[in-house]
């Protein structure tokens, strides 16, 4: 069980670091997609098939594609000025991440390993998961559904006014 974990986690870290460090936006985006994919593989190795495949589908299939697609459309500028303002962005980045790191370390140290749930719990079957999702957690699913539709309508409205009227020059 441990071997895949030991192989994968450094790779994920490396990819994430690359995503942050890379000057060229497209390389950064692709490395981000790689790191998300590796996380999905991590899920698969510990037997959580559903969450692994959904992670792969949602993140690599949708989020990474949207980031990359926007890069393709806007074709962002050159890397020079991005490298030039790197020192300042480094500082702000550290300021934000240090507290998060602190919280993680505390949780790691304070939490005692025994209380963690037994590793060999019976693997969750999809039907059971489905029932759980739509009976006990139904309100949460419905809330997420409403949120998503609101986002979809917002995006549609937002896209509408910037779209040029398609001039088929009926009468120029």
């Amino acid at each position: 069980m441990i071997i895949p974990l030991l192989i994968l986690t450094p790779l994920v870290l490396l990819a994430a670091l690359g995503a942050v460090w890379k000057a060229r936006p497209v390389h950064a985006a692709l490395l981000l997609a790689l790191s998300l994919a590796l996380v999905a593989v991590l899920y698969l190795t510990i037997g959580a098939d559903f969450i692994g495949l959904v992670q792969f589908m949602v993140y690599v299939g949708a989020v990474a594609i949207l980031i990359v697609f926007s890069l393709l459309i806007t074709r962002p500028g050159d890397e020079a000025e991005e490298i030039q303002r790197r020192p300042r962005s480094m500082v702000t980045g550290l300021i934000c991440t240090l507290p998060v790191l602190a919280v993680l370390l505390i949780a790691l140290v304070k939490g005692n390993p025994e209380s963690a749930p037994a590793v060999d719990a019976p693997p969750l079957s999809i039907a059971h998961l489905g029932e759980l999702l739509f009976t006990t957690h139904a309100p949460a699913v419905l809330a997420v559904g409403v949120l998503l539709t609101a986002v979809m309508i917002g995006a549609a409205l937002f896209a509408r006014d910037t779209e040029k009227p398609k001039s088929n020059q009926p009468e120029k």
């Binding site: 692709l30 495949l53 792969f56 690599v60 299939g61 949708a62 990474a64 990359v68 393709l72 999809i126």
Partner: protein, 406 residues
């Protein structure tokens, strides 16, 4: 002791495709390899058979496509290489291998190399999950369908890499079109597959095929296609699968009359062949899924044909679907990018969403005559409204032509 007596694997015609796996396992056991090595050897052999079968099908399809297109255009098609052109794929393969592989200077060579590989990988992974015969299911995953769609998402990423890494303008345009097309056609593809999951109750593909097992009144097979919601969802799945595989009339990314070869413009040599392999294997995967979901996978069409090995039915149905793709490719012109989008978002997705309540009603009203009476209008009326709307606003105007005598 080395040749411990291991019974030679007994196989019937039905489990013929299992033969390589059984042989490898028998050999390994003969040699006395440890268990984990035997299982790995078996799965490797199974994977080998799947890849072998579908690569030879790809070679055959590249020849059959050129010959059927030729027949539609009243000519013979390749008949010089080998008897009736049978060696044409070999000739193409050799040509592709020997052609010089040019990488443009402005291209990012790593992404330029990675793109074709990343296009072929997902199609083969998707084929691994497909139930090809009663005893021939390479990987019987409980989440077969979900695995199929999540792996399918990788092709868009590789198309982007191909388009962006080539550095020149036409691939850029091609990549833009390809991604927008694939993203907007993945939605109707998945939604139309939801109906089947709801009715079957499981994501395992072999369960779906078993569910479509017996026959109405003895001779009409209980495939999902012959149910109202199944017919609508099947049609939408068929159209969306054409768009997903970038086949004509939706072959915009590689619209050769506008942007030369889209994201594949800057490729030559074997990388270009990899793109085609990826496209054709993707076509097999999508058509295979269509057959599994709606045409009853490896089920026999008529009850008394049970003795025929089941994987023959799967490949026969697959051939029929792919011949229809070729027929469409020989006839239709290409759609423009905004029409493509409008068709997907305004027509396909609403109709696909409609099939879900129809499937629900179908199950709750007991799958009998009553459910037919309930679901058919639920599907038909919105469709008629949609076409009337289409005729009024978007339909092409009918033109009257005057004739001048002087």
């Amino acid at each position: 002791m080395i040749f411990a007596t291991v019974p030679f694997p007994s196989f019937t015609l039905e489990s013929l495709p299992q033969l390589p796996k059984l042989l490898v396992e028998w050999l390994l056991m003969l040699v006395g390899a440890p268990d984990w090595l035997v299982s790995i050897g078996g799965t490797a052999a199974m994977a080998g058979t799947v890849v072998g079968v579908f690569l030879s099908a790809f070679a055959l399809l590249s020849l059959v496509e050129r010959k059927t297109l030729a027949r539609i255009q009243n000519r013979l098609g390749p008949n010089r290489a080998g008897w009736f052109g049978i060696l044409q794929p070999v000739a193409d393969g050799i040509k592709m291998l020997t052609k010089e592989d040019i990488v443009p200077t402005k291209a990012e060579w790593l992404l330029h190399l990675a793109a074709p590989i990343l296009i072929v990988v997902p199609s083969i992974l998707a084929l691994g999950v497909m139930p090809l015969g009663r005893e021939w299911v390479p990987v019987n995953m409980e989440l077969g369908l979900l695995f199929f769609f999540s792996v399918g998402a990788l092709t868009e990423l590789s198309v982007f890499m191909a388009g962006w890494a080539s550095g020149s303008k036409f691939p850029m345009l091609g990549a833009m079109r390809a991604i927008s097309q694939m993203v907007s056609y993945e939605l109707p593809l998945i939604i139309s597959a939801l109906g089947v999951i709801m009715v079957t109750g499981s994501l395992r593909l072999s369960d779906i095929v078993v569910h479509q097992g017996d026959f109405y009144f003895g001779f009409i097979p209980k495939w999902n296609l012959f149910t109202p919601w199944g017919f609508a969802a099947g049609l939408i799945f068929y159209i969306a699968s054409i768009a997903e595989a970038n086949r004509c009339p939706f072959d915009l990314p590689e619209g050769e009359s506008e942007i030369v070869a889209g994201h594949m413009t800057e490729y030559s040599g074997f990388k270009y062949a990899l793109f085609f392999m990826g496209e054709y294997l993707g076509l097999f995967a999508i058509a295979g899924l269509g057959v599994t979901l709606f045409l009853g996978g490896w089920q026999a069409p008529l009850p008394f044909l049970g003795w025929v090995p089941t994987w023959i039915w799967f490949f026969a149905k697959l051939a029929v679907i792919i011949m229809s793709y070729l027929w469409i490719r020989g006839t239709f012109p290409r759609v423009r990018i905004d029409q493509l989008m409008r068709f997907a978002w305004l027509c396909l997705i609403p109709m696909a969403l409609l099939t879900i309540p129809a499937a629900a009603l179908w199950v709750f009203t007991g799958k009998g005559i009553v459910s037919w009476v309930v679901t058919v209008p639920l599907l038909l009326i919105p469709w008629v409204i949609l076409t009337i709307l289409f005729n009024k606003r978007l339909a092409p105007a009918t033109r009257t032509y005057t004739f001048a005598d002087s």
